[in-house]
Symmetry: C2
Subunit: 389 residues, 2 copies
């Protein structure tokens, strides 16, 4: 699979959990998208190149990777937007209940959006760690919104168990798969998920800012009341009616005109996945994270492994806690070893199984060992300034 990607020769890329590597055929695919589909075919591409069908066609392709039968995922807009859409719709599935639960250590956007839905819909928000969800549930909880994998520590939560607990309390669960899609064999249908969202620019390698997606389980589609009512989600979009009549099925989760060029990049990127078994990806991912953990245990006495050692509780990244983690991250990047820093004291390494070799991971860890042993991080050029990762 590694030959399906282009990576610079002078880089060891352990940041695929932030922005995935570029599939090798992307330049040709984008040249076609721009010159032929836009430049030559122009407006005719909506039919002729089926731009209209992109959101659901891509949705079904992603569905195969997250255990969702066709017709339950639509792609478009950003993760924030899809989260708002999902959490609002989830809350409306449980009128009369007044509490939204979310993870107080979850990704900030997830917390901000749940707070915003709370303010908008007049609901209270409570924060809880995923293992403590059961204790926090009551018949007043409408929605539980959680990520599958903790974005900092890489801890994977018990999706099946928590979903069952939430349902037993009569509530609805919204899963954020941003750090899970493309690295874990998720089974949305099998666990009975209600709604889910995810991004496409991490392990799916869809390109910077690749459009996010939303899953609405079939059983909820006819009653899902989604707040972002663009004309693409209308039952008869080209009738251009005054009143919104939501489409049947997952089409109602369409919003407005999606970012077609970004969608075409993602659609091409998904070609990489068509013959891939997610269980095989998972197996290699675990071997790679095992390698990082074993290396840290053996050779990095001043580093502690934050990510769980138990396989079932681990995503596809490893967080290493250390002093001067920010400067260490910068020193590694200067050597072409790209990971990222998460405040206050973590180096985060993403292990994308499709394009990372064991040798590359070992070499990256050797560089880390050297940076620590030689105090190469102790250089003014690596001092903390405003940062974007």
């Amino acid at each position: 699979m590694r030959e399906r990607f282009t990576l610079p020769d002078d880089v060891l890329y352990l940041d695929g959990n932030s922005l995935g590597a570029m599939p090798a055929h992307l330049p040709a695919a984008m040249a076609d998208a721009v010159s032929r589909q836009w430049g030559h075919d122009l407006i005719r591409s909506w039919n002729g190149n089926d731009w209209w069908g992109l959101p659901t066609r891509i949705g079904d392709r992603i569905g195969r990777l997250v255990g969702a039968a066709p017709g339950q995922i639509v792609c478009g807009d950003s993760t924030t937007v899809q989260l708002f859409q999902a959490v609002m719709a989830a809350a409306r599935l449980r009128p009369g209940r007044s509490v939204l639960l979310t993870d107080g250590d979850g990704f900030p956007t997830d917390q901000y959006v749940v707070d915003s839905v709370g303010r908008t819909a007049g609901l209270k928000v409570a924060r809880v760690s995923p293992p403590d969800v059961a204790a926090a549930l009551s018949d007043d909880v409408a929605v539980v919104a959680l990520s599958v994998v903790d974005y900092r520590t890489g801890e994977q939560w018990d999706v099946a168990g928590i979903t069952e607990q939430v349902h037993a309390a009569g509530a609805v669960v919204v899963w954020d798969l941003s750090h899970a899609v493309g690295c874990l064999p998720i089974k949305l249908d099998e666990v009975g998920a209600d709604l889910a969202v995810g991004c496409s620019y991490k392990y799916l390698n869809g390109g910077p800012g690749a459009p996010a997606w939303i899953y609405v389980a079939s059983r909820h589609q006819d009653v899902a009341d989604l707040p972002l009512t663009g004309w693409h989600g209308h039952a008869d979009p080209f009738a251009l009616e005054q009143e919104y009549r939501p489409a049947g099925g997952i089409e109602r989760a369409r919003i407005g005109t999606p970012p077609v060029l970004s969608m075409l990049a993602l659609d091409a990127a998904l070609d990489v996945w068509d013959d891939v078994d997610m269980q095989a990806v998972r197996t290699k991912s675990l071997r790679l994270t095992d390698t990082v953990i074993a290396y840290a245990d053996a050779f990095l006495p001043d580093v502690s492994v934050v990510t769980p050692r138990e396989h079932a509780r681990r995503g596809s990244q490893v967080a290493l806690r250390m002093e001067h983690a920010y400067e260490v991250t910068q020193a590694l990047i200067a050597r072409g070893v790209i990971g990222d820093f998460r405040a206050p004291d973590m180096l985060r390494l993403g292990l994308a199984a499709p394009y990372l070799s064991y040798t590359q991971v070992w070499d990256a860890m050797e560089q880390l060992r050297d940076v620590l042993a030689t105090r190469a991080w102790d250089d003014p050029s690596f001092a903390r300034t405003a940062t974007v990762t």
Copy 2:
């Protein structure tokens, strides 16, 4: 300016009001975006190629074209999403008032979104034609949301006059500039607009589904309460705090990670506009629409001109009413004359001044005359089926 665009030789393109033509340098710009910025620079591009600054940098470039001083526009996500964001924020600027006014003949999404905000915020929605806004205003009206140009008829509304009326009643106005940006010399600051949105794939030629944008007048920025609270709009995004603290200035209108590839296409497309005087664009646009109208008057006895003849009341498109308008549109497209159909009986011709010549417009009208005179539209292959335009 025409040399800045690539158009197929066998096409007369009068649909730039739906999807603008491709600037000639776009293939090179996108090749750089994909191969170098994503493929080689990877995550480092957020700083190194200033992906982080794209939403506001593009915002300021659009600002120059719509009379907005820097620091009031941010780009990202779809028009639907930005409309929801703007109308919700506008309603929150006028708590205690209970009515939203919108145009009952406006673009469907605009009506659907206002209805959705009404349901979400517990407000009533009333529909009114823009010239009748004054009569519909009261001290219970919170927001008036209108398009600058009617998407079907091409009628331009009195932005300055209506804004003044709305303000006199103590309400807030949200303008949709989708059919105005890039063809009319709009003056958002000068007329005192409150909020505005627009799309970028029509007259701005930003590419299919190019990200939309939102304008929040400086005077409202510190109190604007926007519902889509993604981490990019946080006062200190990389502190990754639990609680949302909106950024100062227009940065608070950022949402989540935007569709970077689509943004880079739009950013490149805006190069076309840097030395352009919008008044010159307007002058040529009027001459082009005058040509269409004069031709219809002189040579098309069975066609009626729906678009206003008064320059001040006209956008940059002409709608022609005729029998069999759908079939006529298809027959024209088969000849390479691309306009579009709007139910029930209109052929809509978009006149994009930057790349259309008078000769091309004349030739297109000659084709229309011939299609009507020879009944070329009366062919089973042009009969109405499901359509996407």
